[in-house]
């Protein structure tokens, strides 16, 4: 029963190695999708190259579908899967700031790393900026600690749990949203003359 680490008594070296292998896959597909190039990434927001939306949402629905199916057939124990906690206001504020950072800088940490290893100098500057930004934020957080640890809706709360809808139905709705975004992306790319 997955997650495997809980049942096969891995040594921490095996865990680290598996993490490394998975990371290789992650980096590989990010770069293959063209995420190492900030201009290509940013074009999404001008509807000229919708690669970001296509890759991102395909990945989300593939993994989400996998989890839901595996859970339904008792192949995975979802209570042992990490689920991001929901701190409402830090999540909103942080998301907004990240959005601005994205259109200004053109990268996020994951894509920045991929850009860095393919020798993009702007990715290097972006990562350096991110490290500085994080260091400064780490100094500020203790002063806003109550706010930052407040508005906790749940440490493992999911959309199905919160709205009391079955995960299968939520998954179906998200697939519909994703498919809609794909159609939208194809239409916008044709309009802006994006050549494959």
């Amino acid at each position: 029963m997955a997650p495997l680490v809980h049942n096969l008594g891995h040594s921490s070296h095996t865990d680290a190695f598996l993490a490394f292998l998975i990371g290789i896959g992650f980096g590989f597909f990010l770069e293959q999708g063209g995420f190492g190039n900030a201009v290509k990434l940013a074009k999404t927001f001008y509807f000229k190259d919708m690669t970001v939306l296509k890759v991102m949402f395909t990945a989300i629905i593939v993994a989400m579908t996998g989890l839901i199916f595996m859970d339904q057939f008792h192949m995975i124990d979802l209570s042992l899967i990490w689920i991001n906690p929901t701190y409402l206001w830090p999540g909103i504020v942080g998301g907004l700031i990240m959005g601005v950072g994205f259109i200004v800088g053109g990268y996020c940490p994951g894509t920045g790393i991929v850009g860095l290893v393919t020798l993009k100098v702007d990715a290097l500057f972006n990562i350096l900026g991110a490290l500085v930004g994080m260091a400064i934020t780490a100094e500020i957080i203790p002063f806003i600690y109550e706010w930052w640890t407040g508005s906790l809706i749940g440490k493992r709360i999911t959309i199905p749990e919160y709205f009391d809808i079955s995960p299968g139905i939520v998954g179906f709705l998200i697939i519909l949203i994703a498919l809609g975004l794909f159609v939208f992306s194809e239409v916008m790319e044709k309009r802006s003359g994006h050549k494959e």
Partner: protein, 173 residues
């Protein structure tokens, strides 16, 4: 369906499937999703530990990563990110994209691009720590697990990016 586009990138849908399977494998094998900003934060903490352990210990946020004897780099996420470095290189070599260059919009100078890259990175890093994750950890992993906060953050991330795009159009197109 072509596996590769004319510009030698992998078909985005196929790359998405590949990425989704990697994400699924991460959950299946370890129970953790993918991530990136956490590893960067831990790197910051390691540097700060070398400069001043006392400062790390006295900061309620930093001490969680590196207080006392804690090794910030002893984390699943860090090993995963090292893999990302390698995977990116492999893919870059395959795709012929290993090139020292500065990607920028045709209407601006390279220097302007670098300045904006640094500032944008700073903002993104700050937002990532406040939201407790970046696009990999929140949008991909949180999205797939249907975590409520992650979807909220995802929407909040896209709004300013699309909304302010017009004002930064010179930088990109």
């Amino acid at each position: 369906m072509k596996l590769f586009t004319k510009s030698n990138y992998m078909n985005p849908y196929i790359a998405g499937v590949g990425l989704g399977l990697v994400l699924l494998a991460a959950f299946y094998v370890s129970g953790n999703g993918l991530g990136a900003s956490g590893a960067m934060m831990r790197t910051v903490v390691i540097v700060e530990k070398v400069i001043s352990q006392a400062h790390v210990d006295s900061n309620i946020y930093l001490s969680k990563y590196g207080g006392g004897d804690k090794n910030p780099w002893d984390a699943w996420l860090v090993f995963q990110v090292i893999g990302v470095l390698v995977g990116g290189i492999i893919s870059g070599i395959f795709g012929g994209r290993m090139k020292v260059e500065i990607n920028h919009g045709p209407k601006i100078t390279k220097k302007r691009r670098l300045v904006f890259a640094f500032l944008g990175g700073g903002l993104f890093g700050a937002g990532a720590r406040i939201a407790r994750g970046c696009t990999s950890g929140i949008v991909l992993s949180g999205g797939a697990t249907l975590a409520l906060g992650s979807w909220v953050t995802m929407v909040c991330l896209f709004i300013p990016a699309f909304g302010l795009a017009y004002f930064f159009r010179k930088n990109w197109i």
